[in-house]
Subunit: 211 residues, 2 copies
C-alpha cells in the first residue's frame, strides 16, 4: 500500500517514521491545493513536511505514486446509507462523489494520475487498488439492496450481473467526472436527479425486457 519496495517486514533496523509518512501525505495534499499538479515538486513537499527530499525518494519512486497515495485516503469517505429507494441511494452517493471532486486536491490530481497511468502499468494497478475498487463496492451494495427491496429483479446469470455492475459503475463515475471536470458544470441536485432517473429508468426497462 505505501512504499516503494516493501521492506519485507524487516523486523530489524530503525523503523520508518509513521509521523513522517502522514506528514508527507498531508503536505502533498496541501501542495496540490496551492500549486496544482504540474507545479508540485518533490522538494516543495519535502519542505512542507519538514523532511529531507531523499526521504521521499526512499518511499515513493516518483511524483505519481506519491500523489496516488496522498489522494486515495479521501475516497474512503464515501458511504452508502440506506435511504429507502434505489434512486435516493444513487442520488446520495453521487452528491458525495461530486463533493469529493469539488475539492481542488482531488480535482487536479485524479485526472493527472489517470493520464500518467496510460503509460505506466504499475501506476494503473496502484490506482485501481487504492481508488477504483473501493468505489465499486458501493455499486454492489446499492444493487443488492435494491434487489432485496424488489426494485430490481434477482439476477439469474451472475456474468450478466457483474457486467451490469461494471456498466453502472463506469456510467456513474464517468458521468460525474465528465460533468465536473470536462464540461465544468455544477453537479447539483437537479442534474443528479436527472442522472438518477435516467439510470433507474434504464435499469427498469432492461429488467422488463429481460423478463
Amino acid at each position: 500500500m505505501c512504499s516503494r519496495t516493501n521492506p519485507r517486514s524487516s523486523r530489524t533496523g530503525r523503523p520508518r517514521s509513521t509521523e513522517a509518512h502522514t506528514a508527507i501525505l498531508e503536505a502533498t495534499r496541501a501542495a496540490l491545493v496551492e500549486l496544482g499538479w504540474s507545479k508540485l515538486t518533490m522538494g516543495d513537499v519535502a519542505g512542507r513536511a519538514g523532511v529531507a527530499k531523499t526521504t521521499l525518494y526512499r518511499r515513493w519512486a516518483n511524483k505519481n505514486e506519491l500523489v496516488v497515495d496522498a489522494v486515495a485516503v479521501l475516497f474512503d469517505e464515501l458511504e452508502l446509507p440506506d435511504l429507502g429507494s434505489l434512486q435516493a441511494d444513487i442520488e446520495h452517493v453521487v452528491l458525495q462523489f461530486a463533493a469529493l471532486l469539488e475539492r481542488p486536491e482531488t480535482k487536479t490530481a485524479l485526472m493527472a494520475v489517470v493520464a500518467e497511468s496510460t503509460r505506466d502499468e504499475p501506476l494503473r494497478e496502484r490506482i485501481r487498488a487504492s481508488i477504483v475498487d473501493r468505489q465499486k463496492r458501493l455499486v454492489l451494495a446499492g444493487r443488492e439492496r435494491a434487489q432485496q427491496r424488489g426494485e430490481l429483479p434477482a439476477g439469474r446469470d451472475p456474468m450478466a450481473v457483474d457486467a451490469t455492475d461494471d456498466l453502472i459503475f463506469d456510467v456513474i463515475a464517468g458521468a460525474v467526472v465528465h460533468r465536473a471536470l470536462v464540461s465544468a458544470e455544477p453537479v447539483d441536485a437537479p442534474w443528479v436527479a436527472r442522472l438518477s432517473a435516467l439510470l433507474v429508468g434504464g435499469l427498469g426497462a432492461a429488467a422488463a425486457a429481460g423478463a
Copy 2:
C-alpha cells in the same frame, strides 16, 4: 484557433509557415505516441518537426496549448450517419469514440490537458472550443433525428431539452472515457450494446413518465 497572439491578420511581413505549423502538430502527436505526456518536451518536438524551439514558443505559450491543438483535429473524424434507430446511432458513435480513445496520442493527452485545465481557465476554454463542443453536436443531431422518427417525443420545454442533451453527453462521453482509461477494460460491442440499451431505456422511461 491556433497561435498565441493572433497576429491580427497582419498583412505585412513574412508570413508564418503553414508547413511548419502542420509539421509541429504532427511531430507533437508522434512524440505523444512515443514518449507520453510527461516525457514530452518542447525541444524534442522542435527537433522532430525540423524547427527551432523558439518557433514553438512564438506560436504556443506552453506545452498544454500545443497539445490541445495537436489532438483537437482528431476529434473532427467523429460522424453520425443515420443507421435507422436511436440505439444503432448511439452504438455507432460510441464505438467511434472508443476507437479514438484507443489511440495512444489521444489516450495520454486528453486526461493530461483536462487535469491541467482545472487550474488554467484559458486552457479550459480552449479545450471546450476545440474538443468538447465539437462532440456535443453529435448528441443534438442524434436526439433530433430520434424525435423525427418518433422514438422520442418532441420536447416542449426547451430548457429541459437542453438539460437532457447535456446529461446524455456527459453520460456517454464520461462512461466511455472511464471505461477505457480508468477501468482499463475494452469498449467492445457487448459493452456498447449494454450502454446504449440503458440509455434508450432510460430516455423512454423518462418520456413515459413525463407524458
